[in-house]
Point group: C2
Chain length 250, copies 2
């Protein structure tokens, strides 16, 4: 992903030509509507590894759509450090939590070289009042985010360490696959420590689980390169009914 070469002359793509358009945009917009939207959007701003998109407490101004690369969002705790709230892959939106108080409630940092489209929320909001399908799309976007967080709550509340890592790998796999990439072979952009943080587990646990998964032929992992070798069984671990049977064999 890091090595993908994007020709410079395509960096300033308008929404109309954007490969992610079906993810960002609702169906049924007129060409005129799309033009209005793209006039408001700042396209393809580039961030590098470690660059901050926004920080907890910053004034909320815009939503960020990841176009390539990846972003992590997190809260900063007084002494315990950060709690990672999510990893954001191409086509996903970051910053929705800022609308409530006009201040960002979390921080967001690029995990690698990352291109984002930035949408000033105030302008977007005005536009949604004029374009019903865009309004509906934005409501759906918020709602989808809530649904995903609900899944994450379930994961943290009811899943053991194995199931959490399995679910994590499957989530990344599915999401990359939706963007046209391989579902079974990919490069993680986050460190073991970040995975552990996200899943509520210690780094050492993540490391041990990767080894265990590898020993049992579920994945081949070399550093950040991951190859899922038994997708089926990985899936069945998350479906906890079968997981209980499986756990005794593992």
């Amino acid at each position: 992903m890091k090595d993908t070469v994007i020709p410079l002359d395509r960096l300033r793509l308008a929404c109309k030509e954007c490969g992610l358009a079906t993810l960002c945009l609702p169906m049924g917009l007129t060409s005129d509507d799309v033009n209005k939207l793209s006039s408001v959007i700042q396209t393809n701003r580039i961030y590098h590894r470690g660059d901050v998109l926004f920080r907890n407490g910053d004034n909320f101004a815009k939503l960020y759509v990841v176009k390539s690369g990846s972003v992590k969002s997190f809260t900063e705790q007084a002494e315990t450090g950060e709690q990672i709230l999510g990893f954001h892959l191409p086509g996903e939106v970051v910053g929705l939590d800022g609308v409530a108080s006009n201040l960002h409630q979390s921080s967001a940092v690029a995990l690698e070289t990352t291109a984002c489209c930035e949408m000033p929320f105030g302008q977007l909001e005005k536009l949604t009042a004029q374009i019903p399908s865009l309004q509906h799309h934005l409501y759906r976007l918020f709602s989808k985010e809530i649904g995903q967080e609900n899944q994450m709550l379930t994961l943290l509340g009811r899943f053991n360490a194995e199931q959490r890592l399995a679910a994590f790998l499957l989530s990344i796999s599915t999401r990359l696959n939706q963007r046209g990439l391989s579902a079974t072979e990919f490069q993680l952009s986050m460190s073991r420590s970040e995975i552990g943080n996200y899943l509520g587990l210690a780094v050492e646990t993540i490391s041990r689980l990767f080894r265990k998964f590898q020993e049992h032929g579920l994945v081949e992992a070399d550093r950040k390169r991951v190859k899922i070798t038994n997708y089926q069984q990985l899936t069945s671990m998350v479906d906890e009914h079968e997981a209980n049977c499986l756990r005794h064999r593992l």
Copy 2:
């Protein structure tokens, strides 16, 4: 709370007279706008303990605002039972996760006798296109929900059992207090088992913690009746910096 008597003739209150109006409604609506809104809303539908507001997989049609009583929302897992996603107190909205797919992604059940206002989302949506401040309010509502779930993720990811229960009690306290009730003395509507489920802990752990808190003079708990006797110290447990110091004394 269960015993609160609501005169029957006030049960069909329009939004204009609703005591929760400042919670549900944005500031700066004209009287006309409020009338439009209340014409769309079904007010004060009564649910009893165990009654289902909606179930996972149901068609999504409306949002529910709790007016009195309380509601739990949860996902149903194949064999592990349910994972509780949230408890909803008066003034809070339930059902936001349904917008994304037009199907409810979770279920919601009344924990006690509960009155809800029900807002058909399609109509609400049309109205928001006409009333900018209502549109903004709805975006904020979604965003606030996301912020709260982020807090919950942090709780499940980084807090130990003690901190989780402390945070839970403080959350209930704060929210009830915002509705004009006592911050230090209240009646829980959920069982120990439901608290445990919500916090990712076993019932027995909750039971032991209540005893521990009581022994240390933090709360007095008799079944569902809770009295917070040392609010200060409870707060400092959640602020994890001090919590580390405290833990050795407890």
